[in-house]
Every structure is written in structure tokens, then in C-alpha cells.
């Protein structure tokens, strides 16, 4: 390190990445969910030959297209930003991280992007069965895409399948099987894609509810509502199950994240420890200034046991002390080795290698930000100052997690009742349910966003968990560069969302058109005029 990167630049880089990633993820879940919904509806069309299913495919397909375009476009930003804003991260971790991203491009993204064109334009040129196959390929492609992205993300959170190489000063890849079957990645994949299915189901259900309330397209809407509710209840059960698996993985692999999610400052040592429904975690005093919880259920929820203590954040900080000191020794030895290439330095480094990341973490607290120059009498002080830095922002992580969980339970409730009422054919008698469903359309998007915030804010202070702190991962830009790009993103993304919402509302209000396909201009034109 020549000098620590300007902390404003790091913060702005984080802000930009978070902003663009969350924005991108407003479109992804609906893409994931609607592709499979479309495939299911089109299958019904091919099997039964009923025209209503074709109308459903075309109508929901049009809304899918509006959403897909921005999803693809903003996904590009993500690929670019690792290079443009996180140069040290990409250099340090690119050997492992670049592989799943490139495979995603080759295996999935190419497929969905090529076939989505055929899906929209190929109705007249393909047989029914061939078109259905194309729709399935789009669905498969978008979900495979999610798989590889989450494999990459899993590696950031639980780096498996690589080791640190002192000669090239970076993590090198050594095991593709470990990378792919990283339990964190696998659980996240199912959790995220099924959350996408929930989003798709709620979207279809909500818009159908809107038609039912307005007494328009009733047969079409009831049919869509029923299919979506059943699709939704299956999906939400999978989301909750895998969410539980992820929580247990965090407990094992990322205890700081788990403790922050649950707001546990002190190790629990009795079975009566409460699961907090609400609390006000205070990051400055490192205590909850207020909390309400349900006793006895924390341990079963987190560890699936009644006897395992959940380690608190204070205890995690204390336990990190020796690792920080050992990490400082690792950085010092590595620095010497880069200059001298002496075996003795390498051996010294190897002895402390596993704590390297904790040594980087101490950089801001070292005199002149140089951990190799810490005098023995300063060591205890530096270690003590570094200890609290191992924690993420607890308030954000705690509440992001809670919002996601509460919304998840709400979806379960709504899909269960929705499916029951729809299968009993009593939708018309239950206006309150239709109204609730319609107003719930945005909620799965909110839940998905807070899911990401939980996972990635909870990963802090690391970009590569345990190896590379966020504050040395970014590019060495000036504040001016960041202001330039942030203003650009703000203008462009605001325009996009305005255009997207305008079109979504326009076509959703317009509803499905009879023979809604290629022309029939007069009818379409008349209804456009009527809608205005």
C-alpha cells in the first residue's frame, strides 16, 4: 500500500455499487419468476390447445419484455463495476471470481439473450412445440444465470476453492468443484430464484386482482390468479426453507453476520434467550437500546438445538484480537518477502497466513497506516482499536433481515389464502383479498432488496470474507470521478424507471387484447385511444 484510499472515494464506490446492484435487482426477481410462469402457461396452451392460455402467454410475455430489457441493461453495469471501481478486489480475487462470471456469460446469458429474441419474434416462424422449447430455454438460461452469479457471490461470502499465493499476492483458484458446490452458493441460489418465483407470482396475482376488481377480463384474470397462487405458495415454502438453511450456514461460516442479523451482543447461555422481534441496536455503544423478543425460540431457529450458545458480537471481537496480531505478522512477513524473496520470510508468512486479512484490517489504525512499522508497545493498542472493525453495521443488518422475514411470512399467508379462495372459485366474494393482493405487488421487490442488504451489508467489513477488507478493495479514483459517474447513473436510472413504470402501467391497464399479436391494429388502436 502506498497510502490508504481516500475514505470518501471508498464510501462513494460502495454507495454506487449498492445503488446499481439494488436497482438491477428490482428487475431480476421478476425475470426469474415470470420466465417459468410463462413456460408453465405456454405448456398449458400446447397441451390443451385453449386460446386463453396463448393470450395469457402473450400478455404476460409483453410485461416480461418491458422488465427484461432493463434487467439485461443494468446487469452490464455490475460486470463493469468490478473493474472500474474495485480494481484491487478484481486483481486480488479475479482468478477465482472471474471464472463463474465468464461461465455465466457462456452458459446462460448467451442462451437467454439469443432465445428471448426468438420468443418474441418467432411465433409465426416456429411450430407450437418449438416455440415452447424456446420459452423453456429462456427460463433455463435466466435461472442458470442466477446460479453462476450466486456461485460468484458465494465465493465472496465463504471463499472456498482457492488459496492465497504469496508470489503473485492474490487468491488463486484451485478447486472448481469446491467453488460450485459451496454450500452458501447453493443455498443462496435456491433461496434467490424461488424468491424470484414469489415475485413473479405476486405480480401476476396482483394484476389479475386488479382486473377482477374492475370486472374486466374476468375469465383470463381468474385463470391467471389461480395458477399464480399455486405457483406462489410452493415457491414461498422453498424460500423460507432455504432461508433457514442460509441462517445456519451464516452461524457456522460468518458468525459476525449472524450475530448482527439477530442483534446478539452477548453470547447466549440459556435456552430461554429470546428471538428479537424488534430492537434498536446501537453501533456506537455496542448494545441494544431497546428490545422485545420471544423467549426460547432463538436457539431452535438459528442452531436447530436447545443447547448451543449463539456467540455474541462482544465475544467475537475479543476472539479476533489474537487473529489481528497474527495477521499483522503475516502482512509484515509478506511485505519483506516481496522485497527479499528470502525463504525465511516466506516461512514466517506461512505461519501466520490464515490471519492475513485481519492484518489488512489493522492498516487504518497503524502509525502512518503502515502495519509493518508497529512498535511492540503500540501493538496492544492497535489490536484493541481494530477489534470493533470486524463487525458490520448492526442496525442496518438487523433491520434489513427483519423486514425481509416479516414480508416473507406475509407472502406465505397471502398465497395460502389466495390459493384456497381461488381454487374454491370464490374470488369475486372476497374483495378484501383482491385489494390486499393488488397492493402487495411491490412487496416481494422490497423483500428481495432487503435480502441483498442483509447478505452484503452483513458481509462487511470484507469484500472477500476474512481475506480482503472493503476499504482496500476499491480503485484509487478521485472524488471527482465518483461524482461524475454517480450523477450519470442517477440521471440515466431515473429516466429508465420512469419509462418502465409508464409502460408497465400502460400495458397492465390496457389488459390482454383478443388475438393480442402482430397487428390487429384497429382493435389495438381503438383501445389505446380509449385508455387515454
Amino acid at each position: 500500500m502506498e497510502q490508504l484510499i481516500n475514505s470518501t472515494v471508498v464510501d462513494l464506490s460502495r454507495f454506487q455499487f449498492a445503488l446499481t446492484a439494488l436497482y438491477h435487482f428490482m428487475f431480476v426477481p421478476l425475470t426469474l419468476g415470470l420466465t417459468f410462469f410463462l413456460a408453465a402457461v405456454e405448456t398449458a396452451y400446447v397441451v390443451t390447445g385453449k386460446q386463453i392460455y396463448k393470450e395469457m402467454t402473450l400478455f404476460w410475455g409483453k410485461l416480461f419484455g418491458i422488465n427484461f430489457a432493463i434487467g439485461v441493461a443494468t446487469g452490464l453495469t455490475m460486470e463493469f463495476e468490478f473493474g472500474t471501481n474495485w480494481s484491487m478486489y478484481s486483481h486480488f480475487f479475479g482468478d477465482m471470481f472471474g471464472t463463474p462470471l465468464a461461465i455465466e456469460g457462456l452458459m446462460a446469458f448467451f442462451m437467454e439473450s439469443t432465445f428471448v429474441g426468438i420468443m418474441f419474434f418467432g411465433w409465426d416462424r416456429l411450430s407450437k412445440h418449438a416455440h415452447l422449447a424456446v420459452t423453456y430455454l429462456v427460463a433455463l438460461g435466466s435461472n442458470l444465470s442466477a446460479l453462476w452469479i450466486l456461485v460468484a457471490n458465494g465465493a465472496m461470502n465463504v471463499p472456498e476453492g482457492g488459496h492465497f499465493d504469496p508470489v503473485t499476492v492474490r487468491l488463486v483458484f484451485d478447486d472448481i468443484v469446491a467453488l460450485i458446490f459451496n454450500p452458501d452458493a447453493q443455498a443462496k441460489f435456491v433461496h434467490t430464484t424461488t424468491a424470484g418465483f414469489v415475485t413473479g407470482a405476486m405480480f401476476v396475482m396482483g394484476i389479475s386482482a386488479f382486473y377482477l376488481l374492475r370486472r374486466e377480463h374476468r375469465h383470463f384474470a381468474a385463470c391467471s390468479f389461480r395458477m399464480a397462487a399455486v405457483f406462489g405458495i410452493c415457491s414461498v415454502l422453498a424460500v423460507i426453507t432455504l432461508g433457514d438453511v442460509l441462517g445456519r450456514l451464516d452461524y457456522e461460516k460468518q458468525p459476525t453476520k449472524l450475530a448482527a442479523m439477530e442483534g446478539i451482543w452477548h453470547t447466549t447461555n440459556s435456552a430461554s434467550a429470546p428471538w428479537l422481534i424488534a430492537a434498536l441496536p446501537n453501533d456506537a455503544t455496542q448494545e441494544n437500546s431497546f428490545e422485545i423478543g420471544i423467549p426460547y425460540i432463538l436457539d431452535p431457529i438459528v442452531a436447530h438445538s436447545f443447547t448451543t450458545p449463539i456467540i455474541g458480537m462482544h465475544e467475537l471481537e475479543t476472539a479476533a484480537g489474537p487473529r489481528i496480531e497474527s495477521g499483522i505478522a503475516a502482512v509484515t512477513a509478506l511485505r519483506h518477502y516481496e522485497q527479499t524473496h528470502q525463504q525465511a520470510d516466506l516461512d514466517q508468512f506461512k505461519a501466520h497466513e490464515k490471519d492475513l486479512g485481519y492484518g489488512f484490517l489493522a492498516i487504518p489504525h497503524a502509525p502512518n497506516q503502515d502495519v509493518t512499522a508497529i512498535a511492540p508497545d503500540q501493538m496492544a493498542n492497535v489490536v484493541q482499536q481494530t477489534e470493533p472493525d470486524i463487525l458490520p453495521n448492526v442496525f442496518v443488518t438487523f433491520w434489513a433481515f427483519r423486514i425481509m422475514v416479516f414480508l416473507g411470512l406475509w407472502f406465505f399467508f397471502l398465497f395460502a389464502i389466495g390459493a384456497y379462495v381461488a381454487l374454491k372459485n370464490k374470488l369475486d366474494q372476497n374483495k378484501w383479498l383482491l385489494t390486499l393482493t393488488m397492493w402487495s405487488i411491490p412487496l416481494p421487490f422490497v423483500a428481495a432488496e432487503f435480502g441483498w442488504i442483509t447478505a452484503e451489508a452483513g458481509r462487511q467489513p470484507w469484500t472477500v470474507f476474512g481475506y480482503l477488507p472493503t476499504f482496500i478493495s476499491s480503485s484509487t479514483h478521485t472524488v471527482g470521478y465518483m461524482v461524475f459517474s454517480l450523477i450519470g447513473f442517477a440521471l440515466l436510472y431515473t429516466t429508465f424507471i420512469a419509462a418502465e413504470l409508464y409502460l408497465m402501467f400502460k400495458f397492465a391497464r390496457l389488459g390482454p387484447q383478443p388475438h393480442d399479436h402482430n397487428g390487429t391494429t384497429d382493435a389495438a388502436h381503438a383501445s389505446v385511444a380509449a385508455a387515454h
Binding site: 409483453k62 473493474g83 478484481s90 482468478d95 456469460g105 439469443t114 416462424r125 488463486v172 484509487t476
Partner: protein, 377 residues
């Protein structure tokens, strides 16, 4: 030659192929975007033009994503450093690339003429700018870039971004790349369009090819006078660490060394120039289908010529030439390169197979769709 060196060379070759594919396919769509306002005077003509590339632009754009992905996976240090050093232009490129898909999907979904006009301008900007930046990047790299590394591999910028933007040689390269994209886009419009789009596109394609050829020749002469880089010492099989381990000097005309040692390499610039002129002639003779292939050859010739001249450099440093990034010192580990090669060998043939099937399926002439038809672009 050891396996690692061989893998590095194979991946540099694949990167070349991706860059050619990117120039060709993305460039073609960009050319159509740039020309949209000029070949289509009425809304119907513009929609017809958009629908000619409608089923394919999304798949074509993946060349661009794959190019980025391949650099990230196979040359992570190059990816990290080049994207950061060229931050301002990279962000402008990115804005253009994300504007385009949205423009495609949204332009014709509402009927107001202000709405459609705005998106047409978006097509012009997002067609011209990326191709300009693409070419200019080659220009900047040929001239060398001001950066150095610290011991951990973090880069530091040593020259202002203005020096990359306002730079006559880079501007020349940028314009050349735009001209080639206009040629390819014009040819595409001829292949699938009818009059009057056809006639207007023909004129643009012809001028595009001729201007590209002229700029290419001027650029070639200019490169001889540039201060190039020579790798004095540096083992091709070295561990991928750009911080230490090689010695590089600068020398006027060094970019011509490879041509002097291996005269066979002259084939690249030769193919480039000849194909551009032949392409222009074929357009004049109304044979766009054959001209398309000469457009492809032009890209092969152009990128091949730059690669032949710079090998093994990727991004030489003017401020600390010893830390220049080369094929040898900015790549992934041997394990990663092998993994990625296996994946590429499996998937690239599959991709080529279904991409060509899609072109076959959606071929034929395109007419203007009805104004309110929201299923077409």
C-alpha cells in the same frame, strides 16, 4: 514451451477472437443505431431498420459481455487496471451500452412522436460513442498509459483522463472504428431492407468502408513514428505478477519489430485494407451479402494488425515501463486458464450452433410494422 505459456498464448488468441466478434457483431448493430436517423426519414422506415436487427441485437451484445468476462477471468489484473485507468470513458461506454437495450425495447411501445424521437437520439449516441471509445482504447494502449502498481498489485494513475480523451491518435483510431461499424451496419440494412432504406444505407456503407481504409492507412504510418515498447527480459512462463520480474524499454518504431522479424504478419494489415476497398466495391455492385464477409475480414485484419504489432504487450506503462502489463504477467493462474479453456471448448460450439440457427430462422426482408403494433421494435 511449458503448458502455462501455451495457455497464456491461447487465451490471448481467444481474447483477440472475442474482440473481433465484438467489433463485427456489436459494431454492426451500433452502425445501424448510428445510421438510424439518416437511413430512416419516417417512423415506419426507422422501425423497419430496427426490426432488421431486432431478433439478434440482444444475442450480439453478449459478445461485449463475453469480452469483458473473458478479460476478467483470463486476465484479471488487466481487467482491473484498464477499466479503472480509463474510468471516465469506460463509464461513458457503459452508459451507452445500457441505454441501447432499453431504447430497443421501449421506443415503439408508445406512439407519441416526442417519445420516439428521444429514443432515436438515444440510438445515435449509444451507437456512435461505444464504437468510438472502442477504437480510441486501442489508440491509447498503442501510445502507452500512465500508471504504476504498488507491492500488493493496486494500480495508481499517473496521467489525467484528458490525455486519453483529447489525443489525436486515439481520436483517429476511434473514428476508424466508427467508420467500420457504419460500413457493417449499412451492409446489414442493405441485406434486409427495401427502398428507400436500401439506397440510403448503400451510400453510408460505401463511404464507411472507404473512410475506414484511409484512416487505417494513416494510422499505420503513424504507428511507425510512435514510441513503442520492447520487452528486454521477462520469462513468458513467469508467475502472473506485474509488479516485478521484467524489464521493458521504449523505442521509436518498436511496434514494427514483430513485423520485421516475422514478415508473414504483414498479412493482417494487408487483409484489412484490401477487404475494406473490396467491401466498398461490392456495396457499389449491390452485393451486400458478400460485402458482409469482407466487413468481417476487415475486423480480422485490423485487430490482427494491432495484436501483431503489440505482442506480447497488453497495456504498456509510460511512467514505469517495467510494470507494463503483458500476456505473461497479467493473466490468471494455470488452473483457471485450463478450467476456462475447457468451458469455452464445450460452450462456444454450442453457442455458434444456436446463434446461426436463429439467424437462419429469422432471415428475410423486413417491412415497416404498423404504427401501434407493440410486439415489434
Amino acid at each position: 514451451m511449458d503448458v502455462y505459456t501455451l495457455l497464456k498464448i491461447v487465451w490471448a488468441g481467444l481474447l483477440c477472437v472475442l474482440l473481433i466478434g465484438l467489433g463485427l457483431f456489436v459494431g454492426m448493430d451500433m452502425g445501424v443505431g448510428t445510421l438510424l436517423r439518416f437511413v430512416g426519414k419516417t417512423d415506419g422506415e426507422r422501425r423497419a431498420a430496427l426490426n432488421m436487427i431486432g431478433p439478434h441485437w440482444d444475442g450480439n451484445q453478449v459478445w461485449f459481455i463475453l469480452g469483458g468476462g473473458a478479460i476478467f477471468a483470463a486476465f484479471p489484473t488487466l481487467y482491473a487496471t484498464s477499466f479503472s485507468v480509463f474510468y471516465v470513458v469506460m463509464i461513458l461506454l457503459l452508459f451507452s451500452m445500457i441505454l441501447r437495450p432499453v431504447a430497443f425495447e421501449y421506443r415503439s411501445k408508445a406512439t407519441a412522436s416526442a417519445w420516439r424521437e428521444s429514443w432515436d437520439w438515444a440510438f445515435l449516441i449509444s451507437g456512435f460513442l461505444p464504437m468510438f471509445v472502442y477504437g480510441a482504447a486501442f489508440g491509447n494502449v498503442l501510445e502507452g498509459v500512465g500508471f504504476h502498481f504498488d507491492w500488493m498489485g493496486q494500480y495508481y494513475q499517473d496521467s489525467s483522463f484528458w490525455s486519453y480523451l483529447i489525443n489525436p491518435f486515439a481520436i483517429l483510431c476511434g473514428l476508424m472504428s466508427v467508420a467500420l461499424s457504419i460500413f457493417q451496419g449499412g451492409v446489414m440494412l442493405m441485406m434486409r431492407g427495401e427502398d428507400p432504406v436500401y439506397t440510403r444505407a448503400k451510400k453510408c456503407a460505401q463511404w464507411g468502408a472507404i473512410i475506414a481504409a484511409v484512416l487505417f492507412i494513416i494510422g499505420g504510418v503513424w504507428v511507425r513514428a510512435l514510441s513503442g515498447f520492447v520487452l528486454d527480459s521477462g520469462d513468458p512462463g513467469m508467475p502472473s505478477n506485474p509488479m516485478t520480474g521484467q524489464h521493458v524499454t521504449r523505442e521509436v518504431g518498436a511496434w514494427m519489430h514483430n513485423y520485421a522479424v516475422h514478415p508473414i504478419l504483414w498479412i493482417f494489415p494487408l487483409i484489412g485494407v484490401v477487404s475494406m476497398f473490396v467491401g466498398a466495391a461490392l456495396v457499389a455492385k449491390d452485393s451486400p451479402h458478400v460485402a458482409w464477409w469482407f466487413g468481417a475480414l476487415s475486423w480480422i485484419g485490423t485487430i490482427g494488425a494491432v495484436g501483431a504489432s503489440m505482442f506480447p504487450f497488453f497495456m504498456p506503462s509510460t511512467t514505469n515501463p517495467d510494470q507494463s502489463m503483458t500476456i505473461w504477467n497479467s493473466c490468471s493462474s494455470e488452473y483457471t486458464l485450463i478450467c476456462m479453456l475447457i468451458v469455452a471448448l464445450i460452450f462456444v460450439p454450442i453457442i455458434l450452433w444456436y446463434t446461426s440457427w436463429c439467424y437462419y430462422l429469422m432471415g428475410g426482408k423486413v417491412k415497416a410494422p404498423a404504427i401501434t403494433d407493440s410486439h415489434n421494435y
